[in-house]
Amino acid sequence: MSELSRNKNGQGLAPRLHALERAVDASRGMMPDEVVDRAAGVRTNAGERLARGDAAVVVALAGGTGSGKSTLFNSLAGDDVADVGVRRPTTTDPVALVVGDIEGADSLLDWLEVRKRFTPERKIGLETGLIVLDLPDHDSIRTDHKETVDKLVRRVDVLLWVLDPQKYAQGLLHRGYLKDLRQHAEVQLVALNKVDELVPAEREACVTDLRRILASEGLGKVPIYPISATEGTGLGQLRSALTELADRRTASMQRIDGDLRKAADDLAAHLGLPPEKPLDPDPLVEVVGNAARVDDRAGAEAYRYTVAARRATRPPMLRALSGIVRRRDPASTFSPEDFDPEARDPSPVAVQHALQELSVRYGRGLTRPWRSRLREVALNASEPLQKLTSDALARVTATPPRRSWWRPLSLAWGVFELIALIGIAWLLVLVASTYLGLPASDPPSVGGMSLPIVLTVVGIVGWVVTRLVRERLIAVGAKRYGQWVRRAYHTEIAEAVKEAIAPLAVEIAAYQRLVEDLRAVVG
């Protein structure tokens, strides 16, 4: 309330009204139409009411037929202005009692469509600025009366419910009106009329029962004035309550404040829990990656690397030989070229399913229409995602890199091969010359060993070690390269996924925005 008084002209309400407007737009189609329409009506009414200033406070006397609204109205006016009758219902057109010369009163009453207006000439014990309306009933066979009431109940600043001992517990009154005005406790008053018909103990019992019912509806704060409109009992207190309202001038804004809180509550009731985390595309990237067989492809690339590396690091002699030795049957070799490019794209079913899963995961706490919307948006992303993934896959151009160590290794291997060959050849020569009895000088020895043996041993050991090192290096290289390929695909697919599910992210952001807006509407 302090906030309201700070913003006496209703500026404090402007952002809340804007938030409501956005919330209404975002909720349209996602919630029952009546709920959204009602919220939209609140927005319109509030704008129109605010435009008419706070010089006047409009109090409407509402209640069932025969509860004494018109009688009370006349008592307040100090004159027989409204028709009072014994036949039910009596009042059809609302009547206004305009206290004092109020700026903008006519415009306000035009807006309220109240044509019968009365301004008392003499002082009547009410504050200038007060406009009191006598309404028709809401419960008689004249359903047009109810229509008039329903419209005015939404527009006036303050509701003074005129009840009587026969009707205070009416189902229609409580279920049709008071139940929905829980947020408006500050702008409602209740007068229990016709207490002259009750003895004091009965009056007490009645007021207590009424208090109990109101409290059960969250309206415990609403004051109850036991009155008799015909005999004037209790009217003094009621007048001062009305005067105080007119004095404060905040009623119109308090009313709007209540309307806004109610609208926000109503809309929020049709809103589930927002998703906690921001949209996380990773699981989808994983699924699309699997569907696109990224791992297979990475494996194939690693294999290609292995083949290329093996080929490049063959020792020169083996290489020369390989031209002669026949390769095996082509069908027997796992060849990366066997992948048909068409077949690489993920299957539409897998993609659709993954998208549906994603929408289910994010829709968990939401209400059905939003869940459906998310699903629809997600599945609509299916075709773009397939297209984008296909492009993304094509962007990855993987060729097994040539490594700088291939050549040196190949050379080293060749050198060992050569050393071994020289050693073996030397030994053979030595053996042959010994056999033929040719004179031969002892081969030079190194560290006590004959050089040809040393050469042979070094050559063979070196050859084997180099081979082992090569296998190890190729394995590591293939693994690294495979991982790189996998990452490259994943990066590209992640881009594609992000782009494809952007509409889903937009929906979720819109939802979160709505939640925030509703919080802003409450103020």
Partner: protein, 578 residues
């Protein structure tokens, strides 16, 4: 009692009608369900009342004092009885459980449950009784009083317009069972819409009734009575006996006796055997007259539900058909199986000596072939197992995904239809995948693979000598056929479509050599047809989850005919009342 035998067919017809009416659950009526069920319950109670009265035609006339809260119903009843039998007061509403006052001689009609069976009897002589109302079942206080004319039972009913929903339900039950209404409304409430609705309903069914306008100031008696009469004629199309009860001081919860003098006289007249009979008959005939129209109302709603049923099952059928189509497409585009599986198999088929094995299988199985087979079988079995496992995983996950998508689609579309939404809310498990889905799809795929093996056996057996036919070759051929079926694109085999051409040849060669080209094509198309049939079965199981929920909620197809027939049957035998 010969009356009972005469009326037996009518009672039977009414019971039958009641039975089919009970079958109208209106579970597909969404937001209209409450209203429709209320109307159905009304009708059912009316039939109960009719049956009760027909089977005990001699029972006292049930006069229910009903109306709005605070109109002085209890005060009037107290005044008529001459003592405070029902509580009155300024707290609205006061009366919560009905009070039935009857002459001690007639009391036996009400001590068992021939009449007003749904009420628990509470018998307490003496003054006021407090009955705790926490209990769900309504209680009826039974009071014996010699001042009540013989042949009548007077019931003080709870109100129909206060906050208490329970009071209204009890009042409805009493009014539906009543022979005669005494409707009470006050000078402040006589034009209330709620009250007038009840009177209009009574008017439409020609229920015997009188109306009391209570709490009228002496000076306004004529004016208000005139105004009320006009409104009754205009709004409820009735011209009932109208009593005006002038407002007076209430002492000891009673009005001065003269205030209700006219009502007392009316009650005495009612109690005369002839009047009693005619009033009871009037209400019964009225109820029977309108019954066909009421049943027609129910029929219209059932027809409306049948329409909703059509829309909801249409969603199911369309989705299921779509899924079947999607499955076919997924098989056609050759992505039902990882390419790698195909490649691996083809490599294996081409290099493992399998071809040689097959070549030799036709000849006498030499020792050499056997030994080769033995050497190969370990590797072969392992490879086949892996390939089949890979295929099973792929095909099962395709099927599971399609079934999941189908559920998602049905749930979404049902969600846009109010009745569908209600079904989903009542059966939240529909939105979740069934727990055994994956197991079932996997089992289906495994069974399909076994079927392919059997197909190969029968075809192969015809072509080759059975004795020489080796299990190993059957299995290898079956695996080849499974692969070939899934590698088909748009009806072409993988090799024809150019998928993995180099390697596809090996599998192709294997199959052709074992089976011959024509048999191979036959085998592949049979395998494909079998797979689709199995998926259709899976879909059918999936579909049943929804159709069963729907069927449980939907009206039976025969319901409308039954309602018509039984309503007619009632009209045919009703003449026995005369």
């Amino acid at each position: 009692m010969d009356e009972a035998t005469d009326t037996a067919p009518l009672v039977t017809a009414l019971r039958d009608l009641r039975h089919v009416i009970s079958a109208c659950s209106f579970s597909l009526s969404a937001d209209k369900a409450d209203e429709r069920r209320a109307e159905r319950d009304h009708l059912r109670r009316e039939i109960d009342g009719l049956i009760a009265r027909i089977s005990s035609l001699g029972s006292p006339l049930l006069v229910v004092v009903g109306g709005v809260t605070g109109s002085g119903k209890s005060t009037i009843v107290n005044t008529l009885v001459g003592r405070a039998v029902s509580r009155t007061g300024v707290i609205r509403p006061t009366t919560e459980s009905p009070v039935l006052i009857v002459h001690p001689v007639d009391a036996h009609w009400f001590t068992d449950d021939r009449v007003l069976a749904e009420f628990v009897r509470v018998e307490r002589e003496g003054r006021k009784t407090t009955v705790d109302t926490d209990d769900e079942t309504a209680r009826l206080q039974l009071i014996r009083d010699e001042d009540i004319p013989l042949g009548l039972a007077l019931v003080d009913a709870p109100d129909i317009d206060s906050l208490s929903v329970r009071n209204r339900a009890i009042a409805d039950a009493l009014l539906d069972a009543a022979d005669v209404w005494l409707w009470c409304t006050s000078a402040a409430k006589y034009a209330d819409q709620e009250s007038m609705r009840y009177l209009a309903r009574a008017g439409a069914r020609r229920t015997a009734l009188a109306v009391a306008l209570t709490r009228v100031d002496l000076e306004h008696v004529d004016e208000l009575a005139g105004d009320f009469r006009e409104k009754l004629a205009e709004r409820a199309s009735i011209e009932p006996e109208l009593f005006t009860v002038e407002t007076a001081r209430v002492i000891d919860e009673r009005l001065p006796r003269p205030a209700v003098g006219s009502i007392e006289r009316w009650l005495r007249e009612l109690s005369g055997p002839l009047v009693r009979r005619s009033r009871r008959r009037q209400t019964m005939e009225g109820a029977l007259d309108i019954m066909s129209a009421d049943v027609a109302g129910l029929i219209a709603w059932v027809a409306d539900e049948t329409g909703t049923l059509g829309v909801l099952s249409d969603v199911i059928n369309r989705t299921i058909a779509q899924s079947r189509h999607d499955f076919g497409n997924a098989l056609d585009d050759g992505r039902a199986m990882r390419d790698e599986v195909l490649l691996r198999w083809n490599r294996f088929a081409g290099t493992s000596g399998m071809l040689a094995l097959v070549e030799r299988a036709g000849e006498r199985a030499s020792a050499w072939a056997r030994s080769l087979m033995g050497a190969l079988s370990g590797e072969r079995a392992e490879e086949e197992e892996q390939v089949r496992e890979a295929v099973a995983i792929d095909v099962a996950s395709l099927a599971t995904q399609l079934l999941d998508l189908a559920s998602g689609r049905i749930v979404t579309e049902w969600g846009t239809i109010p009745a569908g939404k209600e079904l989903l809310e009542a059966n939240p498990e529909l939105a979740e995948a069934p727990p055994d889905l994956e197991v079932r799809t996997r089992k289906t795929v495994d069974e399909w693979q076994s079927t392919v093996v059997r197909l190969v056996e029968t075809k192969g057996a015809k072509r080759r000598l059975r004795a020489r036919w080796l299990t190993a070759v059957i299995n290898a051929t079956a695996t080849g056929a499974i692969i070939a079926t899934l590698a088909q694109t748009g009806g072409l085999t993988g090799a024809e479509a150019g998928i993995a051409t180099a390697a596809g040849a090996a599998n192709q060669a294997l199959l052709t050599r074992v089976l011959g080209a024509a048999n191979m094509r036959w085998l592949i198309s049979s395998a494909r047809a079998d797979l689709e049939r199995r998926f259709t079965e899976l879909l059918a199981v999936h579909r049943r989850r929804f159709t069963e929920v729907l069927a449980a909620a939907a009206p039976s197809p025969k319901l409308i005919a039954q309602l018509e027939e039984r309503a007619d049957a009632v009209q045919k035998v009703r003449s026995c009342l005369n």
